[in-house]
């Protein structure tokens, strides 16, 4: 593990906001378990729990908390200067942080989604959701790490994207789904395990290409922004 990743992980798990990660995945498993246990048909609870909660809320919110935590929190409290006053090329700072963000997000979300998919349909759907969510975790993390360098309020920007763009616009305007990571994840999972529970107008090839483009594009943007990182505010 690189030193940057080690410091990032220690910082992430050492902050209280990390505790915010726990309730949502637990809620997802509990709801899926309750629905199944109470004998409700998967066709009734599968879509709202797996997609409505798991893919539309748990995945992006966990990614937002972690993605803005690995760099945005360090920018906020000023500790990022310690890593930046070293001769490391900036990609060697961004990539480990991105790896930690995507890894922690995937680990936090994939397991409950697997359980929900298993209960709703099959092991195959569980695995498909876990794999697709991991790909989505990478794309979301790249977006939110870059957002930490684009604005002083990355959480706000992330919430606007998740709630307004993905939660509202992409349900109303089909065209906006081209820029919705949530729909990439649905398309990928549906391809890996076709089921009635998952619906999107995005094709699998487009979803795969866009996931890669978003991940690589925002990572490159983050590296470029970190190269020109300015310490702001103080004029004393």
């Amino acid at each position: 593990m690189s030193t940057v990743a080690w410091i990032t992980a220690r910082g992430l798990f050492g902050r209280r906001r990390f505790l915010l990660l726990l309730p949502l995945p637990v809620l997802l498993v509990v709801l899926a378990g309750l629905s199944q246990g109470m004998g409700v048909e998967p066709s009734d609870w599968g879509q709202p729990v797996v997609v409505g909660l798991g893919l539309a809320v748990v995945l992006p919110v966990v990614a937002l908390i972690v993605g803005t935590g690995v760099l945005g929190a360090e920018i906020d409290d000023g500790t990022v200067v310690h890593v930046l006053t070293t001769p490391l090329p900036r990609w060697q700072i961004v990539l480990p942080k991105l790896a930690v963000a995507a890894g922690v997000t995937a680990a936090t979300v994939a397991a409950p989604l697997f359980v929900a998919g298993l209960l709703a349909d099959s092991v195959r759907l569980g695995l498909a959701l876990a794999v697709a969510a991991s790909a989505g975790a990478l794309a979301y993390s790249a977006l939110f790490v870059a957002a930490s360098l684009l604005t002083r309020r990355p959480v706000l920007l992330g919430l606007v994207y998740v709630l307004i763009w993905e939660g509202l616009l992409s349900n109303v305007l089909a065209g906006s789904r081209v820029f919705s990571i949530q729909h990439y994840v649905i398309a990928l999972a549906d391809r890996l395990a076709p089921t009635e529970l998952l619906h999107t107008t995005i094709s699998m090839p487009l979803a795969a290409v866009m996931t890669a483009l978003v991940s690589v594009g925002f990572t490159l943007l983050a590296i470029d922004r970190l190269r020109a990182f300015s310490v702001a505010g103080e004029t004393s």
């Binding site: 220690r10 310690h82 006053t85 103080e234």
Partner: protein, 316 residues
Amino acid sequence: MTTTAPAAAPATATSTLDLAGVSRWYGNVVAVNDVSMSLGPGVTGLLGPNGAGKTTLLHMMAGFLAPSRGAVTLDGRSTWRNPAVYRRLGLVSEREAVYGFLTAYEFVLATAKLHKLPDPQAAARRAVALVELEGAQDRRIGTYSKGMRQRARVAAALVHDPQVLLLDEPFNGMDPRQRLHMMELLHSLGDAGRTILFSSHILEEVEQVSGTVQVMVAGRLAASGDFRTIRRLMTNRPHVFAIRSTDDRALAVALMAEPSVTGVELGRDGLTVRAGDYGAFTRVLPKVALARGVRVRQLIPEDESLESVFSYLVEA
């Protein structure tokens, strides 16, 4: 109680930090205005009141801010967008930010690894010893006092033995012993051939640490050079005193005859006296008052704030 700082190893090479016509503005606000200076080996103090632009200037020197105009170079290479300069440059910023979840040793060791030093453990031990933190090195930094945190940050900034060290208000939060130790450490580093620049708004701090000083006021470089010369300039400036006495008019007449007094204004609430020589005036005032049978009830130096001293330097 000893305060001897471990001696810094002699520098294997020296570095020069150059600023050529550097300005920085934020919208319509000019934070730094056309500053040029060249910093070589030794300790230099960057003196100025709060808001003078010291931190902005240090950030530009450290490559954390792009100059709006001009250039900042370390040994001829720009510090902006150039992480390679951190092989030769260390920074201790004013902000107290530190990884509270790490111990001081872990923090300094991690910094040594980030610098890809050949023996990071030895470098970390040496840097921790240099700031005398060995006794507390295995405690989480979150449990440290402000002064100890500052020393941990200095250790991290020194772990790669940089030729240039920039420190923004390094004595903030330190107790007198820690302050003395830090001063000795900076002396030692300067004597060993490093280029050290530290900012401060406290005249006495600069006086005790550095022979060379750069004075900033309102974003401009107001004075530059030998500390004693600048100190003399500061001491010999005109001083303004507000005086209230039992007979303001008689005292005003008497004071006007004194060579150390350059002007007297008689007002409702007493006298305003301008003195060209601070020492001579404060010595002569009691004598004059006594001779005229006047009792001085109040004597207030009106312009002794550091800001007014610096303003005078700008006008001088």
